[in-house]
């Protein structure tokens, strides 16, 4: 990634979109991904994109279809560091639970994973899948990634995949990650970044944020 790469592209001070409107559009989009994972979206979903992102497909294929089909990630948050047994993990924007379930396998029975999402359809799907899998070390909580329902200093690791770019106030998201991490904790996440700066006019188009 070169020096001109712009992560996320927007800060609170010059927020070009209405936060509530953006959240509503994101919820609408990802509710659809939860219930119609095979429909056509601006992004790839499911096993195809997991494979492209470089996940260990031998492990992915141990998950039930419901845990895979609504995956809409953009890269692999486990690429640069493998999780360790016993770790406490928070998954920001956990969706239908794909990364949370992989994290649950990696941290084992002594570890814990908390997935946080704001979209009811995703939370319901993830929770139903966790119950069906007997994934007792994985739970899902409703909340915004700018205001995590997690206590201070609980997490060894924070993960996320393709979600932080959807938050208008990215500084608040990273402040929350800092708050929930223990000293020495790690944030390892996947997201999109653009090499060409997005013009102000385009940044006001919510379709570009959610697409």
């Amino acid at each position: 990634m070169g020096e001109k790469t712009h992560f996320g592209g927007t800060e609170q001070a010059d927020m070009p979109v209405d936060v509530d409107e953006l959240r509503a559009e994101v919820q609408k989009k990802y509710a659809a991904v939860a219930v119609e994972p095979d429909a056509e979206y601006h992004f790839h979903t499911g096993r195809f994109i997991a494979d492209r992102c470089g996940y260990d497909m031998a492990v992915v294929d141990t998950l039930p279809p419901e845990a895979i089909e609504s995956f809409a990630g953009v890269a692999n948050p486990f690429e640069l560091r493998a999780l360790e047994a016993g770790e406490h993990v928070v998954d920001l924007g956990s969706g239908a639970g794909f990364d949370s379930f992989l994290a649950g396998i990696a941290v084992g029975s002594r570890g814990r994973v908390v997935g946080v999402d704001m979209t009811q359809e995703m939370l319901l799907k993830a929770s139903d899948t966790a119950e069906a899998m007997g994934a007792d070390n994985v739970e899902f909580r409703e909340g915004y990634i700018e205001d995590l329902p997690v206590e201070d200093g609980w997490a060894d690791v924070v993960i996320s995949n393709g979600v932080i770019n959807l938050a208008p106030d990215k500084r608040q998201v990273f402040d929350e990650i800092w708050r929930v991490l223990k000293a020495g904790g790690v944030v390892q996440f996947a997201d999109i970044a653009n090499g060409n700066e997005v013009p102000e006019e385009a940044r006001r188009h919510i379709d570009l944020w959610t697409g």
Partner: protein, 44 residues
């Protein structure tokens, strides 16, 4: 932004052609968008 917050040891992975072949490919190409993995540590 990670370093502004106080994180250290920031590393970035190789780009992934996240949108290639998807409906969002044209916009992604226009703005040179790829997927990346990031890692950083909260100091002890």
């Amino acid at each position: 932004m990670l370093e502004e917050v106080g994180f250290v040891d920031v590393r970035i992975g190789e780009p992934i052609d996240t949108f290639g072949g998807a409906g969002g490919e044209e916009n992604a190409r226009n703005f040179d968008v790829s997927g990346y993995s990031f890692i950083a540590r909260k100091p002890d």
